[in-house]
């Protein structure tokens, strides 16, 4: 892992100044995207950023505090519904997003209570139940728009003169995502963050050292839920539609997969995980048989095998297998996730030519 050898180094917001510089450059590039790119690129980047916010939020819980959640689609849904319903009631969108964060956090706090007594698989089941319950309540209750969900009001916020709706929304998403990264990085430097990590490493030891388990465990749930809630609110506008079935168990599992694939307990890890899974989600759809014929050496044979066994009426039905295969390979060869790859690459260059 990436060890820090002095207390003061651990306290810094950015490890090194080149890192800070690169972050500023990246942020600037992302901010400039609406000036030269079309809607499609903004949509993809926005989708990635929203997933990244959830992954980062979930990582506070999973990576830093050592709890688990299979119900984050529930917080995502709560954020989406709260934002949409408030915006429809005439609340300005930024305020609605903030309110969504607090509402999601409140539910996070409630879900955190059983976490005090439960661990591991038991906690997983509780959170799973939470996610399913939320989905069903939204789908059933007429107040929430029933099975089709509420209609999403047009995104009316203006951040830059002359920007279209998509451009404004893109900027808001990026601002929120950037804010999430900074907030979580900062949180982990504080007393609260250290308490989270102490609980993860050993909750008994943490309690003995004076960490109030009740407070900090529920707080971890609340913080995690708050970021997820904001992401959900942004997602509602991003998609322009809220459908209760979107927030299903599969989504919760995907969120968890982002954290695990990326690498738990870091900032970069969940980011990489969110990018990977989002791109796999959006890009694999176009996979065609001809693409497999491009594979060197055995391309023809692979394509032939697929056309015999994985085809449904002329369309390759293979992307699920490729998707799963990529995830399995990452975990087999790099148990620390994509973040582990990064660490190893860094260490390799630092000690080069050894």
């Amino acid at each position: 892992m990436d060890m820090k050898r002095s207390y003061y180094r651990d306290l810094r917001l950015f490890d090194t100044w080149p890192l800070g510089l690169w972050l500023v450059v990246c942020a600037a590039l992302l901010a400039l995207v609406p000036f030269f790119a079309g809607n499609y690129l903004m949509y993809v980047l926005g989708y990635i950023a929203i997933n990244a916010m959830v992954a980062l939020g979930l990582n506070v819980l999973v990576g830093y505090t050592g709890q688990i959640s299979l119900g984050h689609a529930g917080f995502f849904a709560i954020g989406a519904y709260a934002t949409v319903l408030l915006a429809k009631a005439g609340v300005p969108i930024p305020l609605a997003l903030v309110a969504a964060a607090f509402i999601a956090a409140a539910f996070g706090f409630l879900l955190g209570l059983p976490a005090l007594r439960l661990e591991g698989p038991y906690l997983a089941v509780i959170t799973l139940g939470f996610g399913l319950t939320v989905e069903n309540i939204f789908a059933k209750a007429e107040f929430f728009g029933g099975a089709t969900g509420p209609s999403v009001p047009p995104f009316s916020l203006s951040l830059w003169p002359g920007f279209s709706r998509e451009q404004n929304l893109y900027w808001l998403i990026m601002l929120c995502a950037g804010g999430t990264i900074l907030a979580i990085r900062n949180l982990m430097r504080t007393r609260v963050g250290r308490a989270f990590v102490a609980i993860r490493d050993s909750d008994v030891a943490a309690a003995c050292a004076g960490v109030d388990l009740t407070w900090y465990k529920t707080l971890a749930f609340a913080v995690s839920a708050a970021f997820t809630g904001v992401a959900g609110g942004l997602f509602a506008f991003h998609l322009g539609q809220v459908d209760p079935t979107t927030f299903n168990l599969m989504l919760s599992i995907l969120f968890l997969a982002m954290v695990v694939i990326g690498g738990v307990g870091s900032i970069l890890g969940p980011l990489l995980g969110a990018v990977t899974i989002s791109l796999l989600n959006l890009k694999l759809k176009g996979l065609k048989l001809a693409d497999f014929e491009q594979i060197p050496l055995a391309g023809k044979e692979i394509a032939g095998f697929i056309s015999r066994h994985f085809m449904e009426t002329g369309m390759a039905n293979i992307q699920f297998i490729v998707y799963g295969g990529i995830l399995v390979l990452i975990m087999v060869f790099e148990p620390l996730g994509l973040y582990g790859l990064w660490i190893r690459a860094k260490r390799y260059w630092r000690t080069w030519p050894l």
Binding site: F36, Y40, N136, T148, T246, K285, N317, F320
Partner: protein, 395 residues
Amino acid sequence: MFQPLLRIAALAASVFAVALAPTAQAQQLTGVTDTEIHIAAWGPQTGPAAPWGAVTRGTAMLFQMVNDAGGIHGRKIVFHPFDDQYNPAKTVAGVKELVEKAPGIFAMASGVGTSPGLAVKDYLMERGIPWVGPAAGSLHWVTPPQKALFAMYPLYADEAKLLVRHLVDKEGKKKIAIFYASDEYGENGHRGAMAELTRLGLKPAVEVSVNQADRDLKSHLLKLKDSGADAVLMWVNPTHAVITLKTAAALQFSPQWATSSTLSDAVMMQAITGGLWKNMIYASFGELPDADVPQVKKYRDAFAKYAQQGERWGVFFMAGIGFVEPLVEGLQRAGRDLTRDSFIKAMESIKGYKGVMGRVTFGPGERQGQREIFLARTDDTGTKVTQLTPWAEVK
């Protein structure tokens, strides 16, 4: 020391931004060139909703036939279907990608599913991109009518009304139960059935809803059975229909079943229910696939020539043709000078057009093209289908 540098950088950045700003809202791609018309569609080819993806492949065959017959006023149709797995996030990505990449997309054809469709509706309508024949029966397409959206799928509520009317008037059923999915599709069927029952002065035997995630329907079926219903209106998805019939058979509950056009692919239903699709009364929005009418024969013959290996001449495949026939008709009528406005005008001139579906009529302000449906019934063996009622609009 860095202050002046920073200031210059900020200035440069803002100049850059202002210079680039106009290009962002720039060129509207029309998807029409001298020789090509680009048309796109989404439809699940993989995942749980994959059976409905046949719609998209049917549309593809229709376009291929049009091209092989010489195209439309000197232009060939270039079709861009894509697999969205019935996931709205993927539908939006796919549609934006195609619409914004040169030469753009002239119009959308079919497009499977209510929630994928809803996710792109506003985007398409804001850009004035015509969309013909969404492959989902939703009220959202036509309330309120959109200038560029031409709906073909008849309303579920109308189907439910016609089924209830038939069950009561012709089959002499008195205790009709409603078994419906807790989504928009199920709710619309439920609403239509309730309206018709009220009109007839009846009450439903029982109303039971089913969740998408439910896999054990025994308690649902017991409620239906205990109500003493002699007919059940089943407004659920294919998976639930299979479980419903199997559970009912196990409980020895055999009312007269009646169901929506969503489950009108009798051959598929017979196969996946393991032979339980017997004596089923259902609504249909298109001619029966083996109907002996020239409109259907034309495509059935073409199917033998064009279809991919493993494809089946079924209701959904044919629906992909039927939903989009008016689009081809509209392109023909718009003539060589094709713009979105001339196309929409041409679409509005379509009156009483008869293809493989009921008669289609659009007009200024009229965007629900098809309202005609009929009822059909499978026989005791579940293999032969007969038309019970003539094509008619439900009043």
